[in-house]
C-alpha cells in the first residue's frame, strides 16, 4: 500500500534566505509545512557575560553588535536605561539629535527589510534599490561618527558630536528624495501582482495571538494592535512630534510589509520636525569619568525597528554592571514562526521568516 509520510528538512544555518545563521527545522508533508522549529545560537557571543566584565561606557560598543542594522536604536535603548539608572538628565538638544538618528536608522533598517523580503521572493532587483538608498543613510552616519554600521554615536549622557551643516544638508536632501525612492519601491514591488499574490493572505497572525506571544514592533501593529512605545510610553523627545502609527488589519505578510513601508514615511516626518526644532544647548550632560550608578535595578524599554528593545540592568554600585539582560525583540518575535509557517508551503516559510525580520546578531545575542 502506498502512503505518504512527513520528513524533516533542516533549513539553515547555511541557507540563502535565513538572514544570517538561523536554522529552522521543518517537518514537511510534500511541500506543506507541518511543523517548524527555530533553532538559534549559531551567533551567540555571550554579550551579556562580556558586559559584566566591562564598565558602563565600555559596554556601549557591544550594543552596536546586537542588532547591527539598527545600531543607533540599540545605543539609544542602552543609554536610556543607564541614564535612568544613574539619574542623569540629558540636554534637550541631545534628545533631538538622538531621535533624528534613531529614526534615520529605523528607515535604514526598514529598507533592509524591504530589500531582503524582495530577494526572498526572488525579485533580485527589488533588493538592490532599497540597499542603494540605505547607503545614503550610512553615508550620513559615516560623516557623523565615522562608522557605517557600528556607530556608538549615542553616548551615556548625550551624543558624541553635533550636526555639522554638511550633515544637515545630507539629511535634508535624503528626506527630499525619500518620496521618490518610496515611489520606486512601490512601482517595482508593491504594485506587482506576483508580489501581492505571494504576500496577501499568507502567514496570518491574529491580534490576539500576537499579543499573547509578546510580539512587539511593526509585527504587532500589522496584526492591528496599536502599541508603539514612542506613543504609549513616550521617551526622550518623542512627545514633541506629530506622527501616526500605521496599523494593519489581517496580520498577514502583506500587512507586515505595508506597515513597515508606511513607517518609513512616518519616521521621515519625525526627522523633519526634529531637524526644524533643534534647540540650542549642550549635546552632552555632565557625566563622571567613572560612572557608578547607585545600587539598584532598572528595566527600560524603547521602540526599536523590530519591536521593544529592553535593557534590564542590575547595578551593585560599582563601575561595572552586575548583570545586564537584554530583551531582544527579534528573539521573542521568532516565537511566532511556527504559527506563521504551519499549513503553508515551503515558499511561504522564507517569506514569513522575512516578514518577522529577525537579525541574528540580536537573536543570538
Amino acid at each position: 500500500m502506498i502512503k505518504t509520510e512527513t520528513y524533516q528538512l533542516s533549513m539553515g544555518p547555511v541557507h540563502p534566505s535565513t538572514h544570517g545563521v538561523l536554522q529552522v527545522l521543518l517537518t514537511l508533508d510534500g511541500e506543506k509545512v507541518v511543523d517548524s522549529v527555530p533553532c538559534m545560537g549559531y551567533l551567540h557571543r555571550g554579550i551579556e557575560k562580556l558586559m559584566e566584565a566591562r564598565t558602563y561606557f565600555q559596554c556601549l560598543p557591544y550594543t552596536d553588535r546586537l542588532d547591527y542594522v539598527s545600531a543607533m536604536n540599540n545605543n539609544f535603548s542602552y543609554c536610556h536605561a543607564v541614564e535612568k539608572l544613574a539619574a542623569i538628565d540629558i540636554p534637550e538638544k541631545a534628545q533631538y539629535l538622538r531621535v533624528i538618528m534613531a529614526e534615520l536608522n529605523r528607515i535604514a533598517s526598514h529598507m533592509i527589510f524591504i530589500g531582503s523580503l524582495a530577494v526572498d521572493i526572488g525579485a533580485t532587483t527589488g533588493m538592490i534599490y532599497p540597499f542603494r538608498d540605505r547607503e545614503r543613510i550610512l553615508d550620513i552616519f559615516n560623516e557623523l561618527c565615522g562608522a557605517r554600521m557600528t556607530y556608538s554615536y549615542i553616548r551615556i549622557g548625550g551624543v558624541r558630536s553635533d550636526l555639522s551643516s554638511a550633515i544637515v544638508d545630507m539629511i535634508n536632501k535624503f528626506l527630499a528624495d525619500l518620496p521618490s525612492m518610496l515611489d520606486e519601491y512601490n512601482n517595482l514591488l508593491t504594485g506587482n501582482e506576483i508580489f501581492q499574490h505571494r504576500l496577501k493572505g499568507t502567514s496570518l497572525l491574529s491580534g490576539e495571538q500576537a499579543r499573547r506571544l509578546g510580539i512587539t514592533g511593526p509585527m504587532l501593529r500589522a496584526s492591528g494592535i496599536d502599541y508603539d512605545l514612542r506613543k504609549d510610553n513616550t521617551y526622550s523627545s518623542y512627545d514633541n512630534f506629530e506622527f501616526s502609527v500605521p496599523l494593519g488589519k489581517n496580520g498577514d505578510n502583506w500587512d507586515r510589509y505595508i506597515v513597515r513601508v508606511k513607517e518609513i514615511s512616518e519616521s521621515a516626518k519625525i526627522i523633519r520636525q526634529a531637524l526644524d526644532g533643534i534647540p540650542d544647548g549642550q549635546i552632552t550632560a555632565k557625566v563622571p569619568k567613572v560612572l557608578r550608578p547607585p545600587k539598584g535595578e532598572i528595566y527600560d524599554t524603547t521602540e526599536g525597528p523590530r519591536g521593544e528593545v529592553g535593557y534590564h540592568i542590575v547595578s551593585d554600585g560599582s563601575a561595572k554592571p552586575y548583570r545586564i539582560h537584554i530583551r531582544r525583540p527579534s528573539f521573542i518575535n521568532l516565537q511566532a514562526l511556527n504559527i506563521l509557517c504551519k499549513g503553508y508551503l515551503v515558499g511561504d516559510v522564507v517569506v514569513a521568516m522575512s516578514t518577522i525580520d529577525p537579525i541574528l546578531g540580536e537573536v543570538d545575542c
Binding site: F195, R198, G347
Partner: protein, 345 residues
C-alpha cells in the same frame, strides 16, 4: 527569395570534400559532422554571449555596472569564469548515486542541443527539415526534465529532490499550454514542418494574427526554461538550487550551459513561430534571425530581473486554470476563423 549565404557555403564545402575524398557519401557524412561541430560552437558562443548579456542587462536594470574588468567591456568575464569553474575541485557527495549523479550533467546537454537540428536559421539553412519539426521540438525539449529528476534523485539531498519534483510538476504544467498554443499556428499553416511555418509568415507575422497564442506561449516558455517568475526549480531562496544543489565546478557549468542552451532554443522557437523567422527586408536572413533572437532573449532577461518569483501552487494554477483554457479557446477561435476565411474566399 534568395538562397541563403550559408546554403551556398555548404554546397561549396561539399564539393571540396567530394574532391578530397572522391566519394559523395563520405563527403556528405563529413559535412554532417562538420555541421555538428559548427552547431556546438555556435551554441557555446551564444551561451557565452548570453551570460555576458544577462549580467550586463542585470547591471543596467539594477543601477550598477556589471562585469567590466576582464577584457574590453568585461567581454572576457565569462571566459574567465569558465576557466575558474574548470579548475575547481570536483566534489562528489558521499551518499550520492555516483553513476547517475555523474552522467546527469553530461546527458542534460543532449536534449537541449538536439532541438537545434530542426531550427531554420536562414532560408534553406536547417539541418533536418523533417515533416514533424515542431512536434519533434516539443517532444525533445521535455526530455530535459527527466535529467533534472535524475540529478535531483541521485544527489540524495532533500533540497535537490524537492527541486526535481518541482521540475516535473512544472514541465507538465508548461508543456501542455505550449503544445496547445502552437497547435493554433499549425492549424493556420497546415504543416508541422518548420520551414513551412516560416514561409507562411512571409506576408504577416503570426504574432499579429495569434496574439493570444503568443502570450500563452511566452509565459509557458518562461516556465519551460525555469526563469523568473517561474524559477521554482532553482528557487534559490527556498530550495537553494534545486537539482543542482550538490553540483559544483564543471558539472555545475554543464547545468548552466544547458540552461542557456534552452533559453536560446526558446528564443529561436519564439522567433520561428511568431516573429517571421529569418525573414526581413534588406539584410541577409541570418542577420535578421540573430537580431530577432537576441531581442527575444533581451525580453526574457528583462522579465527575469524585474519580477518576483511565484509560488509553486500559483504557477500550477496559472498554467492549468488560465493558460490551458485560454489556449483551448484560442484553438476553437482559430478553427472558426479559418472556416470563415475559407467560406469567404
Amino acid at each position: 527569395m534568395h538562397e541563403g549565404l550559408l546554403v551556398n557555403l555548404t554546397v561549396f564545402l561539399t564539393r571540396i570534400a567530394e574532391f578530397i575524398f572522391g566519394n559523395i557519401f563520405i563527403a556528405q557524412l563529413f559535412i554532417v559532422l562538420l555541421e555538428i561541430v559548427v552547431i556546438f560552437a555556435v551554441i557555446s558562443l551564444a551561451v557565452i554571449i548570453q551570460v555576458y548579456m544577462e549580467r550586463r542587462i542585470c547591471g543596467l536594470i539594477q543601477d550598477r555596472f556589471g562585469p567590466n574588468r576582464v577584457g574590453p567591456f568585461g567581454l572576457l568575464q565569462t571566459v574567465a569564469d569558465m576557466i575558474k569553474l574548470m579548475s575547481k575541485e570536483d566534489i562528489v557527495p558521499a551518499k550520492a548515486e555516483k553513476l547517475l549523479w555523474g552522467i546527469t550533467p553530461m546527458l542534460l546537454f543532449i536534449p537541449a542541443a538536439l532541438v537545434y537540428a530542426v531550427f531554420p536559421f536562414d532560408n534553406g539553412v536547417i539541418f533536418a527539415d523533417i515533416g514533424i519539426g515542431i512536434f519533434f521540438v516539443i517532444a525533445v525539449m521535455s526530455q530535459g526534465v527527466l535529467l533534472f529528476l535524475l540529478g535531483g534523485y541521485a544527489s540524495e539531498n532533500k533540497y535537490s529532490f524537492m527541486g526535481a519534483m518541482r521540475a516535473v510538476a512544472q514541465m507538465l504544467s508548461s508543456e501542455i499550454p505550449i503544445a496547445f498554443s502552437i497547435l493554433a499556428i499549425v492549424m493556420m499553416t497546415g504543416s508541422l514542418r518548420m520551414s513551412d511555418i516560416v514561409s507562411a509568415q512571409s506576408g504577416i507575422w503570426f504574432i499579429a494574427v495569434q496574439p493570444l497564442a503568443f502570450i500563452i506561449f511566452i509565459i509557458a516558455m518562461l516556465m519551460e526554461t525555469n526563469r523568473t517568475p517561474f524559477d521554482l526549480v532553482e528557487g534559490e531562496a527556498e530550495i537553494i538550487a534545486g537539482p543542482f544543489t550538490e553540483y559544483s565546478g564543471m558539472r555545475w557549468a554543464l547545468f548552466f550551459l544547458a540552461e542557456y542552451t534552452n533559453l536560446l532554443a526558446a528564443a529561436i522557437l519564439t522567433v520561428t513561430l511568431f516573429l517571421g523567422g529569418w525573414q526581413g527586408p534588406f539584410l541577409p536572413g541570418i542577420s535578421w534571425f540573430i537580431l530577432k533572437v537576441f531581442a527575444v532573449i533581451f525580453v526574457f532577461m528583462w522579465i527575469r530581473w524585474t519580477f518576483p518569483r511565484t509560488r509553486i501552487d500559483q504557477m500550477m494554477a496559472l498554467s492549468w486554470k488560465v493558460l490551458l483554457p485560454l489556449a483551448l479557446f484560442n484553438i476553437m477561435a482559430t478553427g472558426i476563423g479559418i472556416y470563415i476565411y475559407k467560406w469567404i474566399y
